[in-house]
Amino acid sequence: MSLASTQFELPALPLAEPRVRRRTFEKATHAILFCCALLSVLTTVSIVAILAVEASRFFQEVSIVEFLTGTRWAPLFKPQHFGILPLVCGTLLVVGGSAVIAIPLGMGTAIFLSEYAPTWLRDTIKPVLEILAGIPSVVYGFFAIVFVSPWVQWLFPSAGVFNAASACIVVGIMVLPMIVSLSDDVLRAVPRSLREGAFALGATKFDVTVGVVVPAALSGIMASFLLAISRAIGETMAVTLAAGATPNLTLNPLTSVQTMTAYIVSISQGDTPVGSPEYLALFAVGLALFVATLLMNLLAQWILARSREVYE
């Protein structure tokens, strides 16, 4: 009896140790991987913390009411003015203008790709859009200055070298692939039976597309617009190069405007003393930017999540 138990235990001892070691190793890996995932949460926390802390230092010197309702943005002049409305106006002008360009073009292309295009044409246009999406923002800025802006000036002689119109055009091209690929996906997800039902009732291709397919995919299309607008709000280098750095409370696309992102760039480039109001304003503007894009993204995700439930 005792012999049997010793025989049983002896080989068990050398086996048990690696098993214990392996288990601690497994646990350690689990913990490390968990930390990697936690880092993404920490990134969000630190973005919010840094923006909030530095912006609150800014709001100790400038009242939040003046910041939100002031109509003059002149941080580099004495006396300083910190009314964000001209920057917001500049951003809205560029976002609105780019939406006017990108939404019809993007919808047209998406409808063409999903409803009309033969496979070979689809396989040619899709990569083109992927390339357009992969071109860095600063290249679009160059394109705006060297190509688009001279054309705008030729068409409208009153336009300056830096004008909001050329910024609208290049940002429109930049967000186009986003609208097309998302809208194309949701249009193709519309069940075939809906189209065939409409055809059976005698509808033309136009009726089917505009009356059945697009309404069925509308929430996804809306989400793609929101994501594109969010991207346009945060667009930096192209807008800075194309629209210039003059804070202007205007909706005239032929003048130079400064967007929120362009202000951040202009302050980062200069020798602004750390801790000065104009330096701290950068964080306040960044906070406004972060909140605006976050709201757009959350709304788009919510719409997408809702529309997905309908189909699956």
Binding site: A37, S46, I125, V138, G234, T236, T293, L294
Partner: protein, 291 residues
Amino acid sequence: MMAAASRSRRRRMKWVSTLFAAACLASALVCVLMLVVLVWNVVSTGASWLNWSFLTSFPSRNPQQAGILSALAGSLWLIVLTAVVALPVGVGAAVYLEEYARPSRWRSFIQTNIANLAGVPSIVYGILGLGLFVEAMEMGASVLAGALTLSLVVLPVVILTTQEALRAVPGSIRHASYALGATRLQTISRQVLPAALPGIMTGVILALSRAIGEAAPLVAVGAVAYGPFLPAGLNDQFSALPIQIFNWSARPQAEFHQLAAAAILVLLVVLTCMNAVAVFVRYRFGCHSRW
């Protein structure tokens, strides 16, 4: 009478339908046209400036002598450091979310958080880098601060694409591995990760090609557009290709615009090569594991 009216209505509907199709085709063609015009514009402006001395000279006030050596070196430093930081962390986070975390409120919270981080404008990451790395951690406008900032920019992309690649590995492979007595770690490191590697590689390369073209966060962190030096260590000042392009494009003289175009050509060639590698990996290694 009624037949005639309905016939004319039908003809009109047919017209509307054709016109609509033509408009859709036209907008698709405009997309293609835009790419053609953009590339043609860059090539025609910059091609004649592209030569060996352009690649091996420092930036200069004299456009004839200016080159992109420091920008190239800076971009190389940044991309290598970004890969070293973002790759393990991103893949680790994705493995945790896909293989370890059970569906729970905590997991969907992290998932939503990552989706939102992917939508945060890159300039906001630049402000984070400025406040956190440059000021709070006192790294200054160094290569390290720039690379850490870029890592944060691309991290959501790396995580999301890696997750997709891991999700594409069928559960049966994991079950077979467990059935043979492998632990979770062995299953992941010897079965799941190798199977998902082509997808992960593609995603990582695409994320890095985004990092290489990114200028806004580097401007905020404090990259310098000229200065005849190469970064020798992690704490040195740095330039980068997109920063150099930005600086040259912003100047009024046409010569500098031509220099910018030549630098853009270099950047586009680098991006094309990276994308070609990604496509190659996807087709070469993705094909033989067909489940």
